[in-house]
Amino acid sequence: MNTIFAIASLTYKEGLKHRVLFGVLVAALFLMTGALLISGFFMRDIVKVLIDFCLSVTNLGGLLVPFFLTIGMLTGDRDKRTIVTILSQNVSRTQYILGKYFGLSLLTATIMCILAMATYFTLLGGSLLYGEYYFKSLSLYSVATSIVLSYVGISILNGVVFLWCTLTTTSFLATLLTIATYIIGHSIDDVVRFVESPPPGVTVATSIVKAVQIFQYVFPNLAAFDHKLTAAHGLAIPLIDSALLCGYGVSYIAFSLALSVIIFSKRDLC
């Protein structure tokens, strides 16, 4: 376990020093400030617009990690051979994968915590600027739950990125597969609903229905972790739903990482 923590800590430090991270974080904070002004155009829905905007930016900040840092760091380790630095020590390939994953998850958590704080201050600024009357429906609990669930969704995507990075040999292919996973993960629910009960006059072949149903179980259902609208409307997210989603997320991450470890342990690395 010590070794995994050591790798996680090294990965976290390395991730924190990426310039791209600072640039985008500053841009995200700037956007949130901009949201305060933009929301003024929607007087009756100020709080909804503000929450939706801030949660979208928080989610986007978190997504930086799987799309840029995870792919960049994993394929970079292989291409620049920095992986040798770690594996030439008393480190197994399993410990490498788990350490990297935990380091990057910690990095995601840090980014999302900073953006969550910015969300809180933006909402506070909004209530001072426009008056508390417009913020009556605000539920900080729902906003916080939405951010936590969003983090779990991004962690799942991070796990899948590990799988793609161990399976492919180029960062380009890993990025393409990650984009595909993200799109499928966010639309599979709607597609399943459509093929299972198509509108009148539309027929869907049984083979397509079966294929889509299989996809539903193979790819992660990322849309289930998107509760921005619920939080924007001040509705509660039941604790049991959150717990079930977290359970699903942890199982999917464990499955992705286990597959990654199996593939990675059979590969020539240099």
Binding site: A6, K13, E14, T82, V84, T85, S88, N90, D268, L269
Partner: protein, 242 residues
């Protein structure tokens, strides 16, 4: 009879690249390194030297044959606690400092915190890097990076040092420093496996020299048997042109 700390027996390795022809790196490598010796591997490009080292590090898995490193399978991390590896182009994390790397090596080797700091001071002094210890590795010159990587490789006091072109791109002062460290390390009873194209360095440092060609060990020589530097060069050239 001295203990054999590194053993290769009829080891074969073929790389299979997608859509490309398979490339055989090792045809049938048999090699033994005794405990406490400095064994040099020389050979032309593509002879299989790097693949041999990568197999020892567990980075590449061999297809057939037997490999043992201090009686361990090199693919298991347990074998890595006995080795320190210095690659030809050190690949440390450019955004992190040497201190960060050494702390990591200490944690992985499960040293207590106090001992990690003591060992860091020792190594920084040894490789003459005390001044630049907190600077990001990316700002180092080639020679400094090589010395930093040597400190990282020797952190856990390994019994076997695997050095791939350790002096490449270094100035004479840096080369002397590295040679002195290698010789001192060997005097302490440790084993060194040394790969280089610089025949004078190989002849100066190594007790035995293996000449590799076309994925196998073509010949093994004792340094003491060689009368001059030219003799090693002649043997190398005649093996490589066979």
């Amino acid at each position: 009879m001295a203990d054999k700390i590194i053993k290769f027996k009829n080891v074969k390795k073929t790389y299979s690249a997608e859509l490309k022809r398979k490339k055989t790196a090792l045809t049938s490598l048999s090699l033994e390194v005794e405990k406490g010796e400095v064994f040099g591997i020389i050979g032309p490009n593509g002879a299989g030297k790097s693949t041999t080292l990568k197999i020892l590090l567990g980075l590449v898995l061999h297809d057939s044959g037997e490999v043992s490193l201090n009686n361990h399978d090199p693919a298991t991390p347990a074998s890595h606690q006995h080795i320190g590896y210095l690659p030809e182009s050190p690949c440390l994390y450019p955004n992190l400092s040497l201190i960060d790397h050494l702390k990591f090596a200490g944690k992985v080797a499960r040293y207590p915190k106090k001992l990690i700091n003591t060992r860091i001071d020792e190594l920084l002094h040894l490789v003459n890097m005390t001044q630049a210890a907190k600077t990001a590795i990316g700002k180092y010159s080639k020679g400094m990076t090589q010395r930093a990587a040597l400190a990282y490789a020797l952190f856990h006091k390994p019994e076997i040092a695997i050095l791939d072109e350790p002096m490449s791109g270094m100035d004479p002062i840096g080369r002397k420093l590295i040679i002195d460290i290698i010789l001192e390390y060997n005097r302490m009873g440790n084993t060194v496996l040394f790969c280089s194209h610089i025949l004078t360095d190989v002849q100066r440092i190594c007790n035995r020299i293996g000449v590799m060609h076309k994925g196998r060990l073509a010949t093994t020589l004792n340094s003491s048997q060689l009368s001059s530097e030219l003799e090693l060069e002649d043997i190398f050239l005649s093996t490589a042109t066979k």
